[in-house]
């Protein structure tokens, strides 16, 4: 049995994050594909630190962090050079740089489903324990556990996102459905039938090239791709039933369709949703930014609600995605890089920025009821809701994820084969599709 970063996450909070998959989208990325940004370049004698990310949006919190750092540490000025790559390319580059012992940046973002594979063997990252331990009590530790191995914390999280249901209130009103009356998935299906009967819209869309419909749905029921021991559970009963449920939404209840373009990060999908194609959408909290960037026409029409429940006392959300930021062992200034990263991610100011700049729910719970977090911002305006109160209410209903080195394999299977074969092509039953995928992941594990 191999090492894995198995994390029996104490079901503390949700995982937020960045979407994860092997490249077809699914990050909260926005903006330009390729960009280099230098932050704090005016400081004299500043030490240069490089930062790689696959998500341009993430740079947003480093801007104020560099300013704070340079103000507080006049004799240890820094200049942060941030480079944005497509996720596949960034992972490849980073992996090879770490392997060859040169060319790695000082600081890097690693998406959660790939993090496990980066921790195989001897992790090529600096342990962040000396920075994390002093503030551990204030943090949602489950988020830190995702990016740890053998009691060492290597990655710092961006958020504690939760999967939620986004409702287009205009369509729901037209269909005559009160969104607050939807409590269970059965209610949801009934509401969906009303929507398809009374409007031109579908109730929802289902991803077939990315996992953000399937994964939240199974995680909500405390299932996962792997169990706490790192064993493959991809083909367990809950997962099979859930996949069948997704299929039924499309073919039996006829209230859903496959997402145009394949997933919820495609231009075709944005166009479709913006034109009122579907009445609701299951995505993690970090998807809010996508609405603001790509679906202008929906401003003021969208409502954020917890997910419908599977059972009376079931969870109403599931933690999804995530990105851990690491300091690589190739940095020439390990202390500086670590202390700076802690400034960005482990301080109250940094965590407030995570919400105000990026719309992420910060992993430091001590800032949740702070004044700054309660202040109105573009997210509150677009969704006109007390989003944060809802998040706080949900926070003990979130199951953790079990991340292993094979998580990226499992993700890959889901995105390329399972969803396509079981839902889009219907060439396999959900049972067959998941069993095939599970076998494939297992066969990749046995040889090591």
């Amino acid at each position: 049995m191999k090492k894995f970063v198995g994390l029996a996450l104490v079901p503390i909070l949700f995982i937020t994050g960045c979407g994860g998959n092997d490249g077809s989208g699914g990050e909260e990325a926005g903006g330009d594909a390729e960009e280099t940004e230098v932050i704090g370049g005016d400081a004299e004698d500043a030490t240069e630190l490089t930062f790689w990310t696959f998500n341009e949006q993430h740079i947003g919190i480093y801007q104020p962090a560099v300013e704070r750092w340079n103000e507080n540490n006049p004799d240890r000025q820094i200049e942060l050079t941030a480079e944005v790559f497509p996720i596949d390319q960034m992972n490849n580059n980073l992996r090879l740089a770490l392997q060859s012992g040169e060319g790695a940046p000082d600081i890097a973002d690693i998406e959660v489903s790939h993090f496990g594979s980066f921790l195989e063997g001897e992790p090529q990252f600096e342990s962040m324990n000396d920075q994390v331990e002093p503030v551990l009590d204030d943090m949602v530790t489950g988020r830190l556990d995702l990016y740890s191995k053998d009691d060492n914390y290597y990655g710092l999280p961006y958020h504690v996102g939760a999967s939620v249901m986004y409702y287009n209130e205009e369509i729901m009103d037209e269909a005559g459905v009160d969104i607050d009356s939807i409590e269970t998935w059965d209610d949801y299906i009934e509401a969906g039938k009303q929507v398809t009967e009374n409007t031109d819209a579908m109730m929802t869309t289902i991803e077939t090239t990315d996992q953000f419909t399937f994964w939240p749905l199974i995680a909500q029921q405390e299932s996962d791709y792997f169990n706490e021991d790192g064993e493959v559970t991809l083909d367990n009963e809950t997962n099979v039933e859930t996949l069948q449920f997704m299929k039924d939404l499309i073919y039996e209840h006829e209230i859903a369709e496959t997402a145009p373009g394949g997933d919820h990060h495609e231009e075709q999908y944005y166009g479709y949703m913006n034109d009122g194609g579907a009445a609701s959408l299951l995505m993690p909290m970090w998807y809010m930014g996508r609405f603001i960037d790509y679906m202008e026409d929906l401003e003021g029409k969208m409502q954020v609600r917890p997910l419908p429940k599977w059972e009376e006392d079931g969870n109403r959300t599931a933690g999804m995605g995530g990105t851990g930021t690491v300091v690589t062992n190739q940095t020439e200034n390990p202390d500086l890089a670590k202390e700076f990263l802690a400034e960005a991610k482990l301080t109250e100011e940094g965590n407030i920025d995570l919400w105000t700049e990026l719309g992420f729910d910060p992993p430091m719970h001590s800032v949740w009821d702070s004044e700054e977090v309660g202040e109105s911002n573009q997210y509150y305006e677009y969704f006109h809701d007390d989003i944060f109160d809802m998040l706080l209410e949900l926070n003990d209903e979130v199951e953790g994820l079990n991340i292993t080195p094979e998580t990226s394999d499992a993700t890959n299977e889901i995105n390329t084969n399972v969803l396509n074969n079981a839902i889009r092509q219907e060439s396999r039953t959900p049972q067959e599709a998941l069993e095939e995928a599970a076998d494939s992941v297992r066969s990749g594990m046995s040889d090591e």
């Binding site: 330009d32 390729e34 280099t36 497509p86 090879l96 075709q268 166009g271 479709y272």
Partner: protein
């Protein structure tokens, strides 16, 4: 109907059919030109339609390439031009030497070398790419122009072409040059190389085009966006990462148009360059 009349009709028929085939062949390129004048996100959302509103046509995609957003694109352009032109110079220099020697001299091992050239021609580069990639890492060449060019510098296809070409050159010239006191190198560079003009042109185009459009290898060895070549850069714009589709369409046009213009002027060399292998056929 007389035979002559019949032939005339057949001629018109065939020509019409060819006109249609040609139209189909050129259709993708023509539609790219038109697409580049249409709002980019509409294209991504709706696909390329036969029907479009001419009033919608706009140069805004091209404006974006000249805005801040486009800076990266020009960087890729410069990289592509630099890599291609350096590669042309280096590979023509080395490959012509090798091809010339294989054709003009009788020396021990010549046949073995020629067989090796043919052998390499048969082996897809992709099979060697992982070890080559490791080699580039070991040599510390990752993310450099040199890494992109190295595997193409002594191109077997060019060696082969130069060898075939040189076989047709008069050997008597070498003899008389020797009598005039030229060294062997002098003979090649001063006397023979100038005679190989057309083959240089053809290979310059083949190597230039190969390098300009090269994808998989640069994808492996280039890391920072500042080093990307055009195909790699354009491919990154294909990801659903954001609003860069303006750049994708106008950038694609600017990537192929210069080549097509060059082709119109140097058709002959393009054709002989790209159909190299045919010399033996």
């Amino acid at each position: 109907m007389t035979t002559e009349k019949k032939e005339k009709w057949v001629s018109i028929l065939i020509t019409t059919i060819f006109a249609i085939i040609t139209l189909i062949a050129l259709f993708p390129i023509i539609s790219l030109l038109i697409a580049s004048l249409r709002p980019a996100s509409d294209l991504m959302r709706e696909g390329l339609s036969l029907f479009f509103n001419p009033a919608e046509l706009t140069f805004s995609n091209y404006l974006s390439i000249f805005s801040d957003n486009g800076q990266q694109y020009w960087r890729w352009y410069i990289n592509s031009i630099l890599i291609s032109s350096m590669l042309i110079v280096l590979s023509l220099f080395f490959s012509s030497m090798v091809g010339y020697a294989l054709a003009m001299y009788n020396f021990k091992g010549r046949n073995v070398l020629f067989v090796l050239v043919l052998f390499i021609l048969m082996i897809p580069f992709e099979i060697l790419m992982l070890p080559l990639y490791q080699l580039m890492i070991t040599l510390g060449l990752i993310d450099s122009y040199l890494a992109v060019m190295l595997p193409l510098i002594v191109a077997p296809i060019a060696v082969f072409f130069f060898r075939q070409y040189c076989i047709g050159l008069p050997k008597e010239l070498m003899e008389s040059a020797r009598i005039d006191g030229c060294t062997e190198y002098g003979i090649f560079f001063k006397i023979m190389a100038p005679l190989m003009g057309p083959s240089f042109a053809a290979m310059a185009i083949l190597q230039g085009l190969t390098s300009w459009n090269n994808f998989l290898w640069p994808l492996l060895v280039l890391r920072s966006s500042d080093m990307f070549t055009l195909p790699i850069g354009l491919a990154t714009l294909l990801t659903p990462y954001g609003n860069n589709y303006e750049l994708l369409f106008s950038g694609s046009v600017l990537t192929i148009v210069p080549i097509i213009i060059l082709f119109l002027f140097f058709q002959r060399f393009f054709i002989s360059g790209l159909t190299v292998g045919g010399v033996k056929g």
